[in-house]
């Protein structure tokens, strides 16, 4: 006979304000097998847990039902409490009467009825719970960082510092990411390259760090502590080991009309290229879309001038497989495409640029060697208009619903730098709100206004019209003086919204991690677990999780490293015992489960069975690898013969819950 204890939590007023907790405890005390039913203000507190522990000992409980918050919040707390007094932790069930009941209802009577029903379902289920024992699996002592921007570099450096091997996979031919393109950083105005490139060199020289540049993750298998990842090393047609980065090939390459991505297409590069002088690894890459040798076999100059013999036109994509204990995603961001914002004339006029393009135009290593000139006629601009929130804070049809967070600060930086270097230039910033939360941030923006006399105008630009004399008419509203302005500008700079890199979505599918509707990776808890994904062993670093500036990115990168190190130092981790198993006598070998399993945990084997007529027969049956199974339950639903069942969530348990709810 089962002896079940029911414990109803008030959660302060979170539950008790909408659910009559005493009535719930009373109603559940009459359920079959229930020997004790209590309520308490905070069941998760020390004294609340003691209440559960004492009841288990005193009443010799064989099952516990806690009516409280989501099991994601405190299931573990109560399982640990039960285990500490000798009750198998898997004999504890949680009825979620907070997120799924009190928080979403207003009427006390309705909410109380529902709480009772949820409690009854949990009691019905716990009747069928079986004690489970968790196994252990080893942890591979190596981490993978996907993305080699400042986030990925910082995470890799911190993990390497703790003594673990780290691989960085970067899809471009050099690490450095967006920060390498930036000229100065706010709010200190120090040079981005001066603080980034030493870190890039440090990463390349660290004995624990391996950089796979010009590479992509092509397959991820396994689970926390035991990921097997296939990395595609794309053919760069240059032998990375032999290449010395001397640049002779680049100098002699006759194909000079390739848009230079590193300078945002503002100038051209050669078909064989090294993105910038401080690239890491400093290895040339041949662009197969433009190389005449690769396209039609005519040229071959680079291989003739290369003294190291590093050019290899026959190089193929290579795939390497590696085991990792932890994976850190640091895929970063990009400015959005501005094609659909016709009103800003971005596609019509070369002097309308994005902020990242301006960053290159002002950079000493940029197309103009650091002198700010109009892209159209290379003249010095005298009036520059900045437009904020282009594509940010929009409804879904018009752009991104979120604030891109970094634009207010970098625009203040740009405005200030221009006024500092070219005091004859008038700078206008059209803003909706100036958002400068952060240490020394608002002071920085005020300096732009008060010290540098940047004209901040509250209002939005409505229309940008390129004129025949080369000037640009900017039509905008000034909301404070309630007038419409026409500014005769030389350049317009658009603060384009930022969005997650396009590779993030397919990567999330490979990693079975969650994303929000904007394709930012979702953290396990928005407040308390900000650098972990909901999938164990996958961590988040930098702007792939949400818009972030450099200081925040670095802080999060180090936090993600700390979490990954916490996993890597363990020799083994406890497995989830709630895994699927197949009843071989019922299995008809249809392969439905194998097809739906997202983790590749199910294989089929030919087994010998004794038949009722005493003959033997070979039958093909499913078998589950418990170390790989994540307990998602897809196979139990797909199985037509009912052979697949999930420990802790068996078909009979689920049906018992449904029966209890429908009774």
């Amino acid at each position: 006979m089962q002896r079940i204890g029911v414990f109803v939590c008030h959660c302060g007023t979170n539950i008790a304000a909408t659910v009559d907790v005493k009535a719930v405890a009373e109603a559940l005390s009459h359920e079959p097998g229930v020997v004790i039913s209590q309520d308490y203000q905070y069941m998760c507190s020390e004294s609340g847990q003691n209440l559960v522990k004492d009841a288990i000992k005193e009443h010799k409980l064989t099952g516990v039902v806690v009516c409280s918050c989501s099991p994601r919040m405190h299931e573990n707390t109560f399982r640990k409490a039960a285990a500490s007094v000798g009750l198998n932790p898997y004999l504890v069930e949680i009825a979620n009467i907070r997120e799924q009941c009190s928080w979403i209802h207003k009427d006390i009577a309705t909410a109380t009825d529902k709480a009772v029903i949820l409690g009854k379902a949990a009691v019905a289920k716990v009747h069928l719970n079986a004690p489970l024992t968790a196994g252990e699996s080893p942890v591979a002592k190596r981490a993978l960082v996907i993305g080699g921007g400042i986030a990925g570099i910082q995470t890799a450096l911190d993990i390497a510092e703790a003594g673990f091997d780290v691989d960085i996979v970067e899809k471009k031919s050099t690490i450095g990411g967006k920060m390498a393109q930036i000229d100065k950083t706010f709010p200190t105005l120090d040079c981005a390259a001066c603080i980034l490139t030493p870190k890039m060199v440090e990463a390349s020289q660290n004995e624990h760090i391996t950089i796979h540049s010009f590479s992509e993750v092509s397959e991820v298998k396994g689970f926390v502590g035991n990921f097997t990842v296939t990395i595609k090393k794309k053919a760069r047609y240059v032998d990375e080991v032999k290449c010395t980065g001397c640049g002779a090939c680049v100098e002699k390459c006759p194909m000079k009309k390739v848009p230079n991505e590193f300078n945002e297409g503002l100038d051209n590069r050669h078909a064989v290229y090294i993105p910038f002088a401080q690239a890491v690894p400093k290895v040339a890459t041949i662009d197969p879309n433009y190389c005449m040798m690769l396209k039609n076999g005519k040229c071959g100059i680079c291989s003739k001038v290369c003294t190291a013999g590093a050019i290899d036109y026959k190089q193929q994509d290579r795939f390497i497989e590696q085991k990792y204990g932890a994976i850190i995603v640091a895929t970063g961001f990009n400015p959005i495409n501005l094609d659909k914002y016709d009103e800003f004339a971005y596609n019509q006029c070369p002097d309308v640029v994005t902020s990242l393009e301006l960053e290159r135009l002002m950079n000493a290593a940029g197309p103009n060697g650091g002198t700010l000139l109009r892209p159209s006629d290379k003249t010095h601009p005298h009036t520059i208009v900045f437009v904020q929130c282009v594509g940010s804070r929009c409804d879904d049809e018009k752009g991104k619903p979120y604030c891109s967070k970094i634009c207010c600060m970098y625009t203040a930086k740009h405005a200030m730098l221009i006024r500092e270097k070219y005091p004859d230039t008038e700078v206008y910033v059209f803003y909706i709100d100036v958002r400068t939360p952060g240490k020394n941030f608002d002071e920085f923006y005020r300096r732009a206004v008060e010290q540098y006399n940047v004209h901040y105008i509250k209002g939005m630009v409505g229309k940008v019209t390129p004129k025949s004399d080369g000037k640009i008419d900017v039509q905008a509203s000034d909301l404070l003086s309630n007038e419409q302005l026409h500014i005769n500008a030389d350049m317009v700079v658009l603060a384009a919204a930022i969005e997650p890199d396009k590779t993030a979505r397919p990567l999330a599918t490979m990693l079975t991690t969650q994303m929000d509707t904007n394709d930012f990776f979702t953290e396990a808890h928005p407040k308390l677990r900000p650098v972990e994904s909901a999938t164990a062993g996958i961590f988040l670093s930098g702007a792939c999780q949400g818009p972030k500036d450099i200081p925040e990115t670095v802080a999060q990168a180090s936090a993600a490293a700390a979490k990954a190190i916490g996993l890597l130092v363990k020799n083994s981790i406890t497995c989830n015992p709630c895994v699927a198993h197949s009843d071989e006598l019922l299995c008809n070998g249809c392969s439905s489960c194998e097809k739906v399993c997202p983790y590749g945990a199910i294989t089929y084997q030919d087994k010998e069975f004794r038949m009722p007529d005493r003959t033997t027969a070979i039958r093909r049956v499913a078998s589950v690898n418990p170390a790989v199974c994540q307990g998602c339950g897809a196979c139990t639903v797909a199985c037509p013969s009912g052979a697949m069942d999930l420990n802790g969530f068996s078909n009979s348990q689920i049906m018992a819950e449904v029966d209890a709810i429908c009774k």
């Binding site: 009103e343 804070r393 039509q475 909301l479």
Partner: protein
Amino acid sequence: MNKNLKEQVLRSSGVNVLKCMRCGKCSGTCPSYDEMEYHPHQFVYMVEKGDIDTLMNSNSVYKCLTCFACVERCPRGVEPAKVVEAVRLAAVRQQGSNHLSPVQIPDMLDEDLPQQAIVTAFRKYAK
């Protein structure tokens, strides 16, 4: 504040004025801006406040070209021109408030005026 009138304008325009984030792009893009006493962003804000009588009595309602530039460019999908339209309808639908009568037409005619414009004018300025 006239609650019924506000309700009527909100319903007939189908616009949720609370979506406005006060960026002023509508007024930044409006070609009739200088002709108007109250500008597109003010229409949205004043309807939110319920100050509709003021708008109805202003000539701004007849100066809107209904070009829909503000609707096209509003980042939040507020559709200010529809608010202006709804206020204008509220005005012309009052008894004796037609803004255009057939007897005025002959004086306005010239050979460049498309017939379509007359039809549109009646639709906009009269019951």
